[in-house]
Amino acid sequence: MARRLIVRLFQGALTIFGVAVLTFLLEFIIPGNTAHAIAPRATAATLREITKTLHLNAPLWVQFGDYMKGLLHGNLGESYVQREPVSTLIGQRLPATALLAGAGVLVEVVVGGTLGIAAGLKRWMSRGVNAISLTFLSIPTFVLGLFLLLIFGFDLNIAPVTGGMSFGALILPALTLGLGGVPWYAQLVRDQVAESLSSSYVRTAIAKGLPDRWIIVRHVLRNAFSPALTMVGMDLGIFISGVVVVETVFGWPGLGQLAVQSLDSLDRPVVMGVALVGATGVVVMNIVVDFLRMYVDPRTKLATA
């Protein structure tokens, strides 16, 4: 088990390094003069000064080396635009995004899982669940978000529309984020439940004379939710790296907004920082879920890397 953890951590570090390299390269492909982006109305002399202090003319690999050196010391650099350490900026935004990600996943699991169980257990419900799934699947996130805002925010007036962070303000973005993922969970759980119901071990459980409810809870659901756990890990990781559309629609002060703003202003250290936080989120969540799954489904212990 310890060996598995070490292997996974090593793989994770490699992944994050890969993301760092790719993001760094991508930033240089984007057209635009960085110095100019930092100080749009500066004189030519000032621009030269900026270019010099930030080593913007140094070869790409030197700049990357400098960045990685800082990174190893835990230094993500300083924002070109806001003149503040990137870690501070991210630190301000991360809690909001983490909260939204957690709430979104909760919606996915609760709504998707419930629909999936219902459809798996009762064949006649399957159609309705399919229709719901298809609906959420075909509505783009921003449309869903605006719909919810219009209905619950403006018409019914039960949810705040002004943005900012509060429990009430969390509901609509979390729903928007979560409902988009509901179809995947509903389908997965439904298929797993149906498969489990027709399995040989459930027949054994019936032959034992156990009550239906016990069979469903102890035998069917535990088997059905194990694959969904992997999906939860992936979603949490991806959401933490910033949910741009949802944060923009609802004015939620999270990492997604930060990423968009800094991309706009070519604020390279911040873009790098957000990308790295996202990559770390995905890697860490995957490792956590991997180990959680070993407790839910002991067979996965065998698949040691």
Binding site: Y201, R203, T204, A207, G209, H219
Partner: protein, 329 residues
């Protein structure tokens, strides 16, 4: 002769297709009845119907008596109470038959929890006893393992322990040794024989393996196209082979055991009829070397031979009973 299990007029349909045609079987207390047939002969449907475990889309008709109690008419809570208590069930593949995410001890303990109203600790202790009963060393340690951590033979022993947990009068086993290698298979067969004699359990053993039948069975019923064509004591079925189909089955076994490498194996010509074939006359007549025009038009009824009770007796559904001695050998 007290009967552990008695099945009468049992028919099973899957939609419009009829898999089992008025089957009658009797398993005496403490005996093993081997129900043998090819894939698709309906033997597993008989097993599932007798255990009342048919899938919802299937429909059954007929009577199933377990230790004198009618099982076929029950449903809901009444049926649930008798499951495990009166009938134990052993599946073909124990790896699939056991819940992969639950410790095996727990899977046995559940049975005691519900049928004996024991708490978790007491039922766990009874589960360990059950594991010990199927001759697994260190039962307490094994109880804490998951199915995938056990060998195939051990898993099948756990399945048997579940089936026997409440000492039911009947155990129905659906090809329990098919997935095992030959030496493990022999161990399981010996274990089942011993436990069956020890506890007085009647066993309905479904198989397609004549070798297994020879080792485990007191009685044999041969199924073909959803019908029982021969039913009798193992010794008489093996010695006298009244039905041409039984004889052909046994000849394949004989060829396999006694033949030289390279010798062609004996095969029964043709294919068994599929479920939607309309059968007139004897279901075996298209493949039977002895078929006459009578066989093609009229379905034979079961006839008794060799007296009523002795080990030389049995039932055979063939028009040519008596006039075919040695015809195929």
């Amino acid at each position: 002769m007290t009967l552990a299990l008695s099945v009468d007029g049992l028919s099973v349909w899957y939609g419009e297709e009829r898999a089992v045609h008025s089957v009658a079987l009797e398993v005496p207390v403490g005996k093993v009845l081997a129900l043998i047939g090819e894939t698709g002969s309906g033997k597993s449907s008989v097993a599932l119907a007798a255990a009342r475990l048919l899938p919802p889309r299937a429909r059954m008709e007929g009577r199933v008596l377990v230790a004198g109690e009618e099982m076929s008419a029950l449903s809901g809570a009444q049926l649930r109470r008798l499951r495990g208590e009166k009938v134990g069930f052993v599946t073909q593949d124990a790896l699939a038959g056991l819940n992969p995410v639950m410790r095996v001890g727990r899977q046995i303990a559940e049975v005691f929890q519900f049928h004996r109203n024991l708490n978790r600790r007491e039922s766990a202790a009874r589960a360990v006893e059950s594991i010990e009963q199927v001759r697994i060393p260190e039962p307490a340690a094994v109880a804490r393992l998951y199915p995938h951590q056990l060998s195939g033979g051990m898993r099948q022993r756990i399945m048997i322990a579940i089936a026997l947990a409440l000492r039911p009068p009947v155990v129905i086993a659906d090809e329990p040794t098919t997935a095992l290698d030959v030496s493990t298979q022999a161990d399981i067969l010996r274990l089942v024989r011993e436990l069956c004699a020890e506890l007085g359990t009647g066993i309905l053993w479904i198989t397609h393996d004549m070798g297994v039948v020879a080792e485990v069975a007191d009685l044999v019923a041969v199924m073909y196209a959803g019908r029982i064509v021969e039913h009798g004591h193992a010794a008489s079925v093996f010695d006298r082979q009244q039905h041409p189909y039984t004889r052909a089955l046994l000849r394949t076994l004989h060829d396999m055991r006694a033949g030289q490498p390279g010798d062609p194996l004996f095969q029964i010509e043709g294919q068994p009829p599929s479920l939607n074939t309309v059968i007139t006359g004897c279901p075996f007549h298209p493949r039977c070397p002895m078929a006459t025009s009578l066989c093609a038009t009229e379905e034979p009824v079961s006839q008794r031979f060799g007296g009523l009770e002795g080990t030389e007796s049995g039932l055979v559904a063939c028009h040519h009973l008596g006039d075919q001695a040695g015809a195929m050998t």
